[in-house]
Subunit: 327 residues, 2 copies
């Protein structure tokens, strides 16, 4: 039987997303299941395998029709051994042997594993047709992935792409989840943006709806800040200027170091759209070296929530990060 | 005849350095000629070819014994076409066709060209046996090179490694030669360190030999600053703390992005030695992500002035950045 089907999996703390693709990366079918993090996440991998087998059956496909399964997972992914550790949001305190579980569940097919941010980066890079890409995801945290010559950069201990932990130029002194102070994530993540707004509100005396909301202890989100900035709210504008300055400088630094074809901004915060992009680009232009400024393009992600499954599928199709060739 | 000899060339604005190597990268003979930048540098390439031919003759070798010639050159090096442009310190205002000149001069051998900072990075990386390395050279300017999986990262338009133009965290507002403000180079180069010392001297009232020298308009260099810091001079210590902070944070940012095996600090300023290194590492440790901190090592360059010729030779031996296979 011709192996011409591919499954891409995006393993998240709430939902496990799946895509069935043909070997030209055309999405044929897409589905999701809840990620069961109970019992230290011990059901996650079996549920994943069951769901894959069920979908194969429903589509009258056998395991032998699969070129492979690609998986983007949180935590530290070991490319050599097909294992995942430090994925605390899945309830996985111990190292998980993904490859062995797949084999035990009858899925003895080539398996391609990488970190979720790398996986999304690989998806965005492939869809953009840019062989060298840095992807920055601005979500609950700030993550990223580096693609060079259409290969995911793993780093010495699979820790490349920790863009959220580059040092912020805003000196708020917020302590990051990683233990360091002043990480980019502590100001440019969705949570960070709210913290910056609250901090800036302390001494802000001009008329501002955002300021009023914060002073009245109303719930605000990063979206509130961007929505109000679009309405020319003064505090919201100040906050957006601060965080886009920080992101723009970081983009300039990254581009001066790597001169990639593009830096792609994704994640929930990127839904702020062209307003966010334009401000980032205008700061970027003050930092990027002349030749870099004209050759590294800053752009918004286009795949949204499908970046993970797309990247996972491309890993299989392009043979990236292969771990298991039992067949 | 067996092709088992390699020539590495480091083309600088004052001196052109050469090394004759065997195909195991053993240095057999080393020499240099002045770089003649008169007449828009029009003699440079011919002088280089003449010197290579003469050395071959003196060593009873023919052109056919050469596996190739590697050249590290300033400016923007076009890897596809074997040309160099923007090498203003050589007097080259126009694009130079290195490959054609070599052929015209009878040196129809494989030619390997890269930017001088990349070339030094490649030398240091190979000597360290680190397949992924970022090299930072702190000299008259601040340059760098990125080696990933033992390949020189060129970037989209051969502009990767512009580490000197990453944004400084010290906000002196010095305008850089590139036209941007607050580049790392504007504070961490030999010239930059002197400028920081002068700026810090303005409001410095404690007892300090460095302060006295500056106030008396005596000539100071980066070496003066480091020498006095080693004698516990207060202003010198302050300046060293400031610039090592800036370099240390940049190293942390680079390591969080790429997680290379090592970041190697070279260039004239690096002769300040372990004092410089220890201070950089201590700042790096506050910025690097936990897993990155333990897996990316910051170290001093070991090749000194030979980094360029060594990297150039390794390019030939490892077949990196090949441009001309006329044979």
């Amino acid at each position: 039987m011709k192996r011409n089907r591919v499954i891409g999996v995006d393993l998240g703390g709430t939902t496990t997303k799946f895509g069935l693709y043909n070997d030209q990366a055309k999405l044929l079918h897409q589905w999701a299941i809840p990620t069961d993090t109970t019992s230290n996440g011990s059901h996650i991998l079996k549920n994943m395998c069951d769901s894959i087998k069920q979908t194969l059956k429903e589509n009258e496909l056998t395991v032998d029709s699969l070129l492979g399964v690609g998986i983007g997972a949180p935590g530290v992914v070991d490319n050599e051994n097909g294992t995942v550790c430090n994925a605390f949001n899945l309830g996985w305190s111990d190292k998980q042997d993904v490859k062995t579980t797949f084999n035990e569940q009858g899925l003895t097919i080539p398996l391609y594993l990488t970190n979720d941010a790398n996986c999304a980066a690989y998806g965005e890079g492939n869809i953009s047709n840019d062989e060298s890409v840095v992807f920055i995801t601005l979500g609950t945290g700030v993550g990223g992935g580096v693609i060079i010559d259409n290969k995911i950069l793993q780093g010495n201990v699979n820790s490349a792409g920790e863009i959220g932990h580059m040092r912020s130029y805003l000196n708020y002194g917020f302590t990051c989840t990683c233990g360091n102070d002043n990480c980019l994530e502590s100001v440019a993540s969705a949570t960070g943006i709210v913290n910056v707004a609250k901090k800036e509100s302390e001494d802000f005396n001009e008329s501002s709806q955002l300021n009023k909301m914060i002073k009245e202890n109303k719930d605000i989100t990063a979206k509130t800040v961007f929505d109000l900035a679009k309405q020319d709210d003064k505090l919201a504008n100040k906050v957006v200027d601060l965080i886009t300055y920080d992101i723009g400088v970081s983009c300039g630094n990254i581009a001066n170091l790597l001169n990639p074809k593009s830096i792609i901004i994704g994640g929930g915060v990127s839904h702020a759209g062209t307003m966010l992009l334009d401000k980032i680009v205008s700061v970027f232009n003050t930092v990027a070296f002349p030749l870099v400024k004209t050759s590294t393009k800053i752009k918004l992600a286009t795949l949204g929530n499908d970046a993970g499954i797309t990247g996972a599928a491309y890993m299989v199709i392009k043979g990236e990060t292969k771990h298991d060739e039992t067949i």
